[in-house]
Symmetry: C2
Subunit: 589 residues, 2 copies
């Protein structure tokens, strides 16, 4: 029904007879002729109908926004002075000869151009109209290209695309599972997978060597701006490769993607140990576009006559740290108050600061409510430590280490955005050398990644010092977002049992939940490891989208009331009864 | 951990030092040296350890089947007389210098070579071992190639890969839905999609123009040899293309696939109207590899003195038909009895036949229990009708038309297989011109495809003659298997409402179930249509697999008791309680 897409006509097509099909984006009546801007997936073309052809003129006149039409006509150059250099098709127009209305449209509840003034609820309820916006079309199209480029790379590198089940058993990923009551096994249920983790490990045990899947995963959690209860993972796993080789292969995947689709060379990703990331950036996913770093000053503060600092400085679990903002002494009192409120979200009880007006004058040159508590030699040592210059501002965090890290880490990112401190557009890195475990509030230990992650030491060493043991886990971070994470997995049953025991999983529970995995490890499991990337997040980042709803065609929403926005349906009585029967245990038990 | 895959070493690698990693497929102790056949994804290589290197010799000696090892060694030509021409690597062997045992293996519950003598239950329970069999590895690898080739074709043809939700509303596909109780909306539930049908139509309304997805779909039905409750569809939809264009595009997709992966030219697919397929082949998915056809002989039988024939011949809903088997008069009485039993499965009450020994002698030359009921002129007309030759056998069906079609259609396929009548390896075709509706047993009507299929006529004509109206539906059939089916969809609200009314769906139900679709059709829906292919079935066909379990890594089974074979899990008390709460309606309602 078309010879060309609307968006692809240029001066090269002048004098060609064309057939176009699409939507009436705009209809104008100007100087006795009718202009229709015809829209399809590829763009807009201006079509002109003049009264010489009475039939098509009358039909064009009757068209309204979003009518679906097919036109035949002649491509010609636009009259001088009417060329639109902002449009791909701006040099030409089509003189319409014939017009057929393929479908009419009622007046839309909102104009596509006006989407920003229309509430998101209305747009989501009429998602089929909202999705006509060129902006979101481009983003979903970009997403399609992303998966295509990723797949090509993985195909070329010998990865096999293997599907794993959606109706599966509950796996121990930590979040709440969606459960599907079984019809044939009453009182039993399937779980939707939080990730294909165990399946991909089994595929390695089976010898598939390199596996990937763009996999739907599910977590029954509340919605967030960057999280949907169903999400998509680029999931991969390899055998007989070490950590460095897996990192290099997947780094290549992402650099290739950015080169192909954005023309950007991400370079070689720096590596940063987890401990350094926490210390200098207060985060395990530091945004390296921002040049600010956090400096520990605890050692300077142990003796000062200021409990707020000396307390945490002396506490092994406490920290006093400084965050220097170059040129920051122009911040107003009001701005500083706002930042104080901001760090409060992360548990900080205040936000001490020093404005460095004249660093050569340690008495009068430092402007701060707290400077009076600091002896002059501490002031000097502090300025030296953070390499302060006149005009800088120094923020302080002093509290439990994790509070300081979270508060100053978040403040660092906020300052970066507020003051536009970015030194580059893209800042990727690998965070490595994660600890295996962390302490829980009740004194137990929990896995930082998942319990299948291999430690960097032997089972005996792990048992002796679980909290200081490092894992062979690695996260890929871009612009402060975790793009993907993975690890070398445990491939020997003995090590896996050691980890289960440290996590206080009883032998019985091990057998019940992970018997098949322990079995598999006993029959010749190869060394293996892999990674999972969040596709939704990757596309958000690459398209500069603030909301996940811009990169998913049919997102779920809190207030959703129609299929388009995917609220669960109401049960009718018959279905409710059947569902109850499925859930109930058989009477015989 | 490897310089080469085991399977890729040839004479070209002689004198190279290589590193291999993989599984010990077989260990032999022969003439004082140890032979390890080392296996990885790509194949086997023979590695030889001699006692000169005591350490690696001892390690090799300690290896058992399925141990995971890494070896370093020198590729050399096999000694004369020991070359194995059946192996890719049969000209060479590796002289092992070093060996590291990466993981040990307990004695496997079955030998990979012995899988045929091992019960399927044991193999499925130990699926991670079963999947090591080269045969199934090849099939899953082939599946991965199939999706890769299909995706490339669709990418090149402007299709966008767009994901649709898995947690969705019940759609009216006819089968039983899997239901997922909602946590946040108690008494409500999600359904897992039986297909992305409505979503892809909405994507067309949104202007995406060409969509595809390799999509997981779900039907809560019992298992079959070629059906799993979760299955994979190659799902696609286009706008502004007519039926012929869509058929040509998707025919190109399949011919390209066969050319790329099997080196087979499927040629141009013939088109066959549904009525002809039923009449001549007794099936809407005729296997055209088999040259037999079914001929109607009702008109010859109306007057014969044999109620079994004359009854159906006179009944407008009845049919008498003949199926000629060239050379079939060599079939024994026992074989014919078995075929009689076989057609009984399809409701046939018997299986009349005539053996044509000498067609020139209409009295003695025809051997049959029923020939005595047929006047000589009818005998002659019958032989002429089916173009019988001496040595042929003619089977008869006489009953309600649908019984005759099913019975003779199935018999035709069985004869084709039993007597190896196939005239070619691949026989594709399109079946077209399906009726819109068929009568249900209670006198109502039901859609043959789905209620979104466009008829070939106007709403008025459809209303006047619903049962004779044809649809714009089309099925792609290969070797008697339906590979895919699709249709032009209804794109105008008026036509959609007419179909809903004919299907006796009340205005209220229309609004409740399909309100969003009717809405979407009112705001500028383009003409659109598409197709869905069954990936599992396609791969089965292309790999010659009799069971769907050969083309799915982790299939579900009836007797499954472990995660590998995906039985639903048992609920524990806490989960059962939570699940019950999710299902129960809130008390307030």
């Amino acid at each position: 029904m078309r010879s060309h897409y609307c968006g692809e006509l240029t001066a090269k097509n002048i004098s060609e007879e064309v057939t176009l099909s699409g939507w009436v984006h705009r209809r104008r009546d100007h100087g006795g002729v009718i202009f229709l801007d015809l829209r399809d997936r590829e763009g807009l073309t201006q079509v002109v109908f003049d009264p010489d052809r009475a039939e098509s003129f009358a039909l064009a006149d009757s068209c309204r926004s979003e009518f679906v039409v097919q036109i035949k006509g002649l491509v010609r150059a636009r009259p001088e002075g009417t060329v639109n250099p902002n449009m791909v098709t701006g040099e030409i127009e089509v003189l319409g000869h014939e017009l057929e209305i393929l479908n009419r449209a009622a007046t839309p509840p909102f104009q596509l151009d006006d989407h920003q003034t229309v509430g998101e609820d209305i747009r989501l309820k009429n998602r089929f109209l909202d999705l006509r916006r060129p902006e979101i079309q481009q983003k979903l199209r970009f997403r399609s290209k992303v998966t295509s480029v990723l797949r090509s790379y993985l195909d070329e590198n010998g990865f096999l695309d293997i599907e794993t089940p959606i109706l599966t058993r509950a796996t121990p990923e930590g979040a709440r599972d969606y459960l599907v009551p079984s019809r044939t096994h009453q009182g039993s249920f399937f779980a939707l997978p939080q990730s294909p983790q165990l399946f991909k490990q089994l595929l390695m045990v089976s010898g598939f060597d390199r596996y990937y899947q763009i996999a739907k995963c599910f977590r029954d959690e509340d919605l967030r701006a960057d999280r949907q209860p169903e999400f998509t993972q680029i999931d991969l796993e390899t055998s007989f490769l070490g950590q460095e080789e897996i990192m290099s292969l997947t780094e290549g995947m992402i650099t290739n993607l950015f080169k192909e689709l954005k023309g950007v060379d991400l370079g070689t990703f720096p590596r940063m140990p987890f401990a350094e990331a926490m210390e200098k950036y207060g985060s395990d996913k530091p945004d390296l576009r921002i040049p600010l770093t956090i400096e520990t000053v605890s050692d300077l503060m142990t003796e000062v006559d200021f409990k707020v600092f000396s307390g945490p400085a002396a506490d092994p679990k406490g920290r006093v740290a400084a965050l220097k903002v170059p040129g920051g002494n122009s911040l107003t009192r009001k701005q500083i108050d706002e930042y104080t409120k901001f760090v409060g979200i992360y548990g900080a009880k205040g936000l001490a600061y020093i404005k460095v007006n004249d660093k050569s004058d340690l008495e009068e040159g430092l402007q701060s409510p707290i400077v009076k508590f600091l002896p002059v030699d501490v002031r000097q040592a502090l300025l030296d430590r953070v390499e302060a210059q006149d005009g800088d501002l120094i923020f302080f965090g002093a509290d439990q280490t994790h509070v300081v890290n979270e508060a100053l880490g978040a403040l660092r990112c906020k300052l970066g955005a507020d003051l536009d401190l970015y030194t580059c557009e893209w800042a990727p890195l690998w965070v490595v050398d994660f600890p295996m475990f962390e302490e829980t509030s009740d004194g137990g230990i929990t896995a930082i990644h998942h319990p299948f992650t291999a430690p960097s030491c032997s089972p005996g060493e792990l048992q002796a010092n679980p909290l200081t043991a490092l894992s062979q886990a690695y996260d890929m971070v871009l612009n402060g977002t975790e793009l993907g994470g993975g690890s070398i997995r445990i491939h020997q049953a003995e090590m896996q049992q050691t980890v289960f025991e440290l996590l206080n999983i009883s032998a019985e529970e091990q057998e019940e939940k992970f018997g098949f995995l322990l079995d598999a490890l006993k029959f010749g499991a190869p060394p293996h490891g892999g990674l999972a990337f969040g596709l939704d997040r990757l596309v958000m980042l690459m398209t500069g989208s603030a909301s996940i709803r811009d990169v998913i065609a049919f997102p779920k929403t809190q207030s959703a009331t129609c299929l388009l926005t995917q609220a669960p349906g109401e049960v009718n009585e018959k279905q409710l009864k059947e569902l109850s029967i499925r859930v109930r245990k058989p009477v015989a038990e």
